[in-house]
C-alpha cells in the first residue's frame, strides 16, 4: 500500500506542489474468470506552481488512473504522493447530482470546500459569466446539454481557487468559443501561480503546455523537450508505434 502526505504551500516561485514517486497500480479482482490489469509500474512525476502540465498517452495507458491517484480519490498499491496546497479536480465524466440545480450544486460543493455563502455566490456568478452559463443557474443538471454539464463540472473544480487544478479532458463537449475561453482561463490561472494539470489528447494543444508527461508501459516519461512527437500522439493519428 502506498503513502500520501499533505503540507501547506510556502509561496516559492517554482515550488513543487505534487511529487509522485514509484506509483504502482493494478486493478485486481477476487472473482473467478476475471483478470487483473496492471496499469502503473513505478510512475514518477512532479507538478510545480504556475505550470501548465499535459499528461498524454494512448487509450488505456493509465492517464486517468494516474490523475485519480494524484487527486487522492484512488489509492495506489505502491509508491508515495506528496501534495501541497488545495486541489480542484475535474473528472472526465461530470460527477454531479442530476436532480440538483446548478445553483444548488455550487452550494453543496462549496460547503464541502468550506466556503461561505457569499464566496459561493461570488464564485458562481464569476464562473457563470466567464463560461457563459448564467442563464442556466436555475436549471437542473439533468436538464443541461452535455457541453453545459461539462462547464459546471469544470466550474466546481475552479470555484475555490485551488493551488493545483487536475483536469481530465475538461473541454469534452465544449463549443469552439468555450474551448478558447477555457484556454484563456487556464493561462490566467497559471500566470497567477496555479499549477494546471490536464489530460490531453489534442496534438495542437501541446504548444500551450509547459511540460508534457507521457504515460507509456506503466511508466511516466517527461517528453517536453523531445523533438517530434510522442508515441501517444502518433497512435492517436492511427500511425504504427514500436510498442
Amino acid at each position: 500500500m502506498g503513502s500520501s502526505t499533505a503540507t501547506t504551500p510556502e509561496g516559492n516561485s517554482s515550488e513543487i506542489l505534487v511529487r509522485a514517486e514509484g506509483i504502482e497500480k493494478t486493478y485486481g479482482s477476487r472473482l473467478p474468470f476475471t483478470r487483473s490489469v496492471t496499469v502503473l509500474t513505478g510512475a514518477d512525476l512532479e507538478i510545480r506552481t504556475g505550470e501548465i502540465v499535459g499528461i498524454v498517452g494512448a487509450n488505456g495507458s493509465g492517464k486517468s488512473t494516474l490523475m485519480n491517484i494524484l487527486v487522492g480519490v484512488l489509492e495506489q498499491d505502491g509508491g508515495t504522493v506528496e501534495r501541497t496546497g488545495t486541489v480542484g479536480w475535474c473528472p472526465q465524466e461530470p460527477l454531479l447530482y442530476d436532480r440538483l440545480t446548478v445553483g444548488e450544486t455550487f452550494r453543496l460543493f462549496g460547503s464541502g470546500y468550506g466556503m461561505t455563502a457569499e464566496e459561493i455566490d461570488e464564485a458562481k456568478h464569476r464562473l457563470a459569466s466567464k463560461l457563459d452559463f448564467e442563464q442556466y443557474l436555475d436549471y437542473r443538471i439533468d436538464q443541461l446539454s452535455g457541453g453545459n454539464r461539462q462547464k459546471i463540472n469544470l466550474s466546481i473544480a475552479l470555484m475555490h481557487d485551488p493551488d493545483v487544478l487536475m483536469l481530465d479532458e475538461p473541454y469534452t463537449g465544449f463549443d469552439w468559443e468555450t474551448y478558447l475561453t477555457f484556454w484563456d482561463l487556464a493561462e490566467e490561472l497559471a500566470a497567477d501561480g496555479t499549477a494546471v494539470t490536464m489530460i490531453s489528447h489534442l496534438i495542437e494543444e501541446q504548444s500551450r503546455l509547459d511540460r508534457i508527461y507521457e504515460v507509456r508501459d506503466g511508466q511516466v516519461y517527461d517528453v517536453t523537450d523531445q523533438e517530434g512527437e510522442t508515441d501517444a500522439t502518433a497512435s492517436e493519428r492511427g500511425e504504427a508505434t514500436d510498442e
Partner: protein
Amino acid sequence: MQRPVNGGKRPMNRVRTGIRSNVSTFLRTPLNVVLALLLPIVVIEGWGQAMAGLPSMPTVEAIPIDLGRLLGAIFGVAIIAGLMGLAQMISARAADRRLVQTGYPPRTLLATRLATLGGVTVVVAAVNYGVLWLTISPEAPVLTFVFLVLAGLVYAFLGALVGALLPRLFEGSLVVVFLAMMDAFLSGDSPLASDVPEFVEYFPLYHPKELLQEAMFQGTYTTGDLGFVAGYLMVLLVLVTVVFGMTMRTSGGWSA
C-alpha cells in the same frame, strides 16, 4: 494567488445544505413520490384481501383480513423505506466521492442521508397508518404509528447497507424487494407460512411485526421485542457507517 477569504463569516452549514439537497433530490424523483403515496393503498388492501379467505388460526386473535392489512402496512413501509435507502446510496455514489474529495466529511454526508431517510420513513409510515386506520381502529394509535416507523427505519438502514455494498441499482432493488417480501410473509403468522423455522425470528421485520400486532390488536407491547429492534437498528447503523466509510475512503488529503 486568489483565495477565498471568509472575512469572519461562517462557512456554509454542511449538514443543512446536505439535507436540503437530499430532500430536493427525493422530491424531484416523481417515482419516489408516486410509490410513497400509492403503494400503501395497493399493498394494504391487496394483502388484506389475499388473506381474507384463509381460515383463522387458533394462536392468532386477529381475523385474517385485518392481519393481512397489518402485514401489508408493514411491508409497504419497509419496501419504500428500503428502496429509498438503497437509491440514496447507489445513485449518488460517484458524485459522493467527488463531494468527499472537496472536504465534505463522509460521516456528515452519511448523517445527512440517514436524517433524510428518517424523515421520509416517518412520512411513508404516516401514509400507511392513515390507510390502515380507514379499515381498522388500532387499540394504541401512537404505539402503532411508532412501530410502523421503526419497521421502516430497519429497512431504510438495510437498504442503505445494500446500497453501500452493491454496485448497481438493479441488483440492489432485487435484493431489497425479495428480502422484504419473504420477510413480511414468513414473519407474518400467515396460515400459508406455518411451521416456519426458528431463525425467522432474526429476520428484520419479525420483531417490528410482533410489536405492531400487539399494539394494534391489544394496545400493549413487549419490551424484549422493542430491545431487539433497537439492537437491530444499532447493528445496521454501525455496518452502514463502516461500509460507507470504506467506499468513500480517499488516499491522503490536501492541505486546506
